[in-house]
């Protein structure tokens, strides 16, 4: 059978093994090759028709401000109209394909991405300032999403019988809703975009891909490979452009059936409001799959292994310069552990190697753009009353948007540093009297995405499982780096509406259930009664 490949169990694509010299060389080679072809030209693509003309916007490398990585063509409302009309026409046929065919395309896409993994990762180091290891992890996560959803689709979308009564047959299945808008963030520029788009596609929706402005070249890298492996050009459209100009227009468009969004709380909530505003001619109620921010805490218990705790916090707080929705932005220490922990953490921050993301020595790279740079430096300069700076680093240069790590001690859990998502290398530290208070403070924000606890006390770990209510809780490890299938990812509260990317049943959010009941009784005869033995 042609989908034999999908009958193999899912396994995560291994991260690049940089111990191997050949692997390091391959990455470096991709980077060199890419540097020679900049700036990349990113078109708008409607039904396979590329348009490079018209308004474009340059994208510069965040590590090196004067280095142009891409020239992005900006989509217009007219592009959106044409794309949506084509997608709406193509949708029915796509929806009615056997699910195996769509799933196989996902699997092929995974192979295709894997073949070019270092090209796609190298592009991330330059376009969004992601260091080598993290850029590679983003690419492998994209591969994982494809392979995982392909396999889950066969299970979750397949027709299943309901009930067991003679004389009637009931079948329930899930099918696509229509055209889905995929509105993706720049921080996991390939993984999240791929995850949301492939979930929508495999469930039987047509998609309109709107990458973030800061990561449109990577988005286009995905689009090109989708078309290459055989996704129909009328089913997938590529619409780069500023959210402020076309974002709302897409969301409010009557031909949109659903929206998959990952990004900030502000944009997410406004999008939910706009999606709820029904327009004349709109065929259905819009559904929104929404992943928003976090204000994630790690608790350091008084019996924690500090070697592990310091390393775990450093990685969670400063990995990709804190620009992850899962990042740790609050540390809650318990009692007397505060002083030794903070002392070691400050020294660890002082030792962080801040460098351009494409330099393999980089431990802390730049932030995404000028806006983030100004905003974060503003917070560091004026964190508000009641925040005591423990350590403020010095950026190595102003060639790029480097924001050095900043640690603040706060005494009030309601302080803005303990409440607002800042999305940068800024960490607030609060000293709790005991573990009980630490748990209370940990859940005292509007968000509920990730959290972590370092403790060697079984009763405290048990209490944390019950009371530290977040979507993804990590015990005795950092709170970032969720892997597809192993740690289905997503939160609730103001962090999202409860879906789990890379987990079971995620696909069902992209589909409508249908049930068909057939009366099999004809004049007192039904084939359902088995002949007597």
């Amino acid at each position: 059978m042609k989908c034999d490949v999908l009958n193999t169990p899912f396994t995560n694509c291994p991260h690049a093994d940089f111990v191997d010299k050949a692997v390091r060389a391959a990455f470096a080679e991709s980077l060199e090759k890419l540097k020679g072809s900049l700036p990349l030209k990113v078109p708008v693509v409607v039904s396979g028709q590329k348009r490079f003309e018209g308004r474009t916007r340059p994208r510069y490398c965040p590590s090196q401000k004067d280095w142009q990585v891409a020239a992005v063509t900006l989509a217009t409302q007219e592009d959106v109209d044409r794309a949506l009309a084509a997608a709406a026409r193509a949708w029915g046929e796509w929806r009615d394909l056997p699910v195996e065919e769509r799933a196989l395309l996902l699997d092929k896409l995974a192979d295709r991405i894997q073949a070019d993994r270092f090209d796609l990762a190298a592009l991330q180091t330059l376009e969004v300032g992601k260091p080598w290891r993290e850029a590679d992890a983003d690419v492998t996560e994209a591969i994982d999403f494809c392979r995982y959803y392909a396999r889950r689709a066969l299970v979750e979308l397949a027709p299943r019988p309901q009930g067991n009564v003679w004389g009637e047959r009931n079948t329930l299945w899930y099918e696509g809703r229509g055209v889905a808008a995929i509105i993706a963030p720049w921080n996991f520029p390939l993984a999240i975009l791929t995850g949301m788009a492939t979930a929508a596609l495999v469930a039987g929706n047509a998609v309109l891909i709107k990458p973030a402005g800061q990561s449109s070249a990577i988005g286009y890298g995905l689009y090109e490979r989708m078309i290459e492996v055989g996704f129909p050009p009328d089913v997938v459209h590529f619409i780069p452009g500023p959210g402020s100009e076309i974002g709302d227009y897409i969301v409010e468009h009557p031909l949109i059936a659903m929206i998959a969004f990952t990004g900030s709380k502000e944009v997410g909530l406004s999008l939910i409001r706009k999606a709820g505003n029904t327009k004349p001619g709109q065929a259905q109620v819009k559904k929104v799959v929404c992943e928003m921010g976090g204000k994630n805490a790690i608790i350091i218990d008084d019996d924690a292994d500090l070697d592990e705790a310091v390393a775990g916090v450093m990685k969670s707080a400063f990995g990709y310069a804190g620009q992850k929705c899962s990042a740790c932005s609050r540390v809650i220490t318990v009692g007397q552990v505060h002083e030794p922990f903070v002392k070691r953490l400050i020294e660890a921050c002082r030792s962080l190697h801040i460098a351009p993301a494409h330099d393999p020595a980089c431990q802390l790279g730049p932030v995404i753009d000028e806006g983030a740079y100004q905003r974060l430096n503003g917070v560091i300069a004026n964190p508000g009353d009641g925040a005591t700076p423990l350590y403020i680093g010095t950026p190595p240069s102003d060639d790029g948007f480097f924001v050095a790590p900043a640690l603040f001690a706060v005494q009030d859990p309601r302080h803005r540093l303990m409440q607002e998502e800042l999305f940068g290398p800024i960490l607030a530290i609060y000293q709790a009297k005991n573990f009980d208070e630490a748990l209370e403070v940990a859940v005292s924000t509007e968000f509920a995405l990730t959290g972590g606890v370092f403790s060697r006390s079984p009763s405290h770990l048990e209490a944390a499982k019950k009371r530290f209510r977040v979507g993804n809780l990590y015990l005795n490890r950092g709170c970032t780096g969720a892997m597809v299938d192993r740690q289905p990812f997503g939160g609730f509260g103001m962090s999202g509406i409860g879906t789990k990317a890379g987990g079971p049943f995620y696909l069902l959010s992209f589909a409508d259930p249908r049930c068909v009941t057939e009366n099999t009784m004809r004049h007192g005869f039904t084939p359902d009664i088995p002949p007597e033995a």
Partner: protein, 490 residues
């Protein structure tokens, strides 16, 4: 805590076998024919019997000295759940500063409810579990754990260690020492470690010339060798080590490590680079190569590195070292170990989907150890062999092979951990071989990670020491040739 270097771990058995055994004479390495297995095996058995004759009536300190330790080891070997809880408790103990905290942990790990404990032990835990009576019980627990730690750690600081190292030397044993501690997470901590090592070198250089001469341990077959001998762990000396930036990691390390080697040379101190996890393996070898080919160190022979026999690349590692010696023109020492990070390597590789860098069957590691033993002995003038193991079979095999090849007895040495396998150590020494004891220095409680590792090692199902001293397995079966299914024609 930083995982201290371990010379030898008796690996866990994995149920993956492809039952093919080696028989008859076979050619290994560069066309050298070893003797027919049956006659080699006869000599091994003979030597093993001679050694055990010398070991009669002796038990290693951890199986005799401390009755606390013996009790804990016995219980751990009988009851897996107790072992896990007990070790988790001991692991956390250094961080627990108040009696109340210890009391809570005793309750959390339900140590006061454990059945089958001797009366006194369960009484101590019961008292400790009750906040009102905790104080004296907690003090008792701390004393016991500190006592146990003393079995494996030679001293809290250099001053304290020197007395013990001197005593060891008087008893006829050479030493190598390293500094235990927390893992290094910052440049400041790395600098502190470097300073401590530099200080250690100066202290040792002052101390050891006062000691009485011992012809066996103060010399190799060519003449005097340094009495002072230190082992370095690179992960302690630089916080920013990452294979993704191998070149940069090596450059950063070199700044910290080179001064240590140079000072050691000035003071006639031997320096060994310990090899830790696979992730740091390439960095460690690259660094070693840079250091020992440095113009000022090129002709200094008292440097060494580790080859881990559990690594699938161990043979290439050995070959690389041989090439290195030929390039620099001065010999080095190779400490041959089985490898101490087996659990970590297997779990890490599996979690990341990487190819597993280590053999998963213990017999393959044992067989590889013997194969590398032969290789070392063939090149003993370039690679001075240091056989580090507590496994009597591995050691006896090395002794017999050395004799077969007419390698002078002082051209190689045997290394064992402080606090373990004293009867073997004494027996090997009494046969006129140089024996070096790996003796770590560090705060007793901070050295707890090292201690837990030692305890785990001694209670592992496949531990040689366990089968020998706890279960009394007979010599002939302990001397069986490791049956490996790996083809070693590399």
């Amino acid at each position: 805590m930083r995982v201290a270097l371990v010379l030898i771990v008796e690996l866990k058995k994995r149920p993956i076998t492809r039952g093919r055994t080696t028989t008859s004479t076979r050619t290994i390495f560069e066309g050298v024919i070893i003797m027919a297995p049956s006659s080699l095996q006869a000599k091994i058995l003979q030597t093993a019997e001679a050694l055990t004759e010398r070991m009669k009536g002796e038990k290693p300190s951890l199986f005799s000295k401390s009755r606390w330790l013996r009790l804990i080891l016995d219980l751990a070997m009988e009851d897996h759940e107790f072992k896990v809880d007990m070790f988790h408790f001991v692991d956390a103990l250094p961080m627990l500063t108040t009696n109340e905290q210890v009391s809570q942990h005793v309750r959390d790990y339900r140590l006061h409810e454990k059945r089958a404990l001797p009366l006194w032990a369960s009484a101590v835990f019961k008292m400790a579990s009750n906040p009102l009576t905790a104080a004296p019980a907690v003090a008792t627990i701390r004393t016991i754990v500190t006592e146990i730690a003393k079995t494996f750690i030679v001293g809290r600081d250099t001053a304290e260690a020197l007395a013990t190292l001197r005593r060891l030397h008087e008893e006829g044993f050479a030493f190598t020492t390293d500094l235990l501690g927390e893992s290094t997470v910052s440049a400041a901590e790395a600098r502190q470690y470097q300073a401590r090592y530099l200080d250690l070198i100066r202290c040792l250089a002052q101390e050891v010339p006062r000691w009485q001469a011992d012809a066996v341990i103060d010399n190799n077959h060519l003449g005097p060798i340094p009495r002072a001998n230190i082992s370095l762990k690179l992960s302690a000396l630089e916080a920013h080590l990452d294979s993704v930036d191998t070149e940069g990691s090596v450059a950063r390390l070199k700044e910290r490590v080179l001064p240590i080697f140079l000072l050691a040379q000035q003071n006639n101190v031997f320096v060994n680079l310990d090899v830790e996890t696979w992730e740091l393996h390439g960095i460690t070898y690259d660094l070693f190569e840079e250091i020992v080919t440095h113009p000022d160190l090129r002709s200094y022979p008292h440097v060494g590195i580790v080859v881990q026999a559990y690594l699938k690349t161990a043979h290439e590692d050995m070959q690389r070292l041989l090439d290195l010696v030929r390039k620099r023109g001065t010999p080095i020492t190779v400490r041959l170990v089985k490898g101490a990070y087996w659990d970590y390597e297997v779990v890490h590789a599996r979690q990341h989907g990487y190819p597993c860098p280590v053999f998963t069957r213990k017999a393959d590691t044992d067989a590889n150890y013997e194969r590398l033993t032969v290789m070392l002995l063939q090149h003993f003038e370039e690679l001075s062999p240091a056989f580090a193991s507590h496994n009597l079979r591995s050691l006896v095999h090395a002794l017999v092979q050395a004799e077969e090849r007419n390698v002078p007895p002082l051209a190689y040495e045997v290394q064992m951990l402080y606090g373990m396998a004293e009867p073997e150590r004494k027996a090997v020494r009494s046969m006129g071989r140089r024996v070096r004891v790996y003796a770590p220095i560090g705060e007793l409680l901070l050295g707890m990670a090292y201690l837990v590792r030692r305890l785990l090692e001694n209670t592992a199902n496949t531990s040689f020491l366990r089968s020998r001293y706890h279960e009394g397995t007979d010599i002939a079966s302990l001397m069986a040739t490791p049956q490996s299914s790996i083809s070693f024609n590399g």
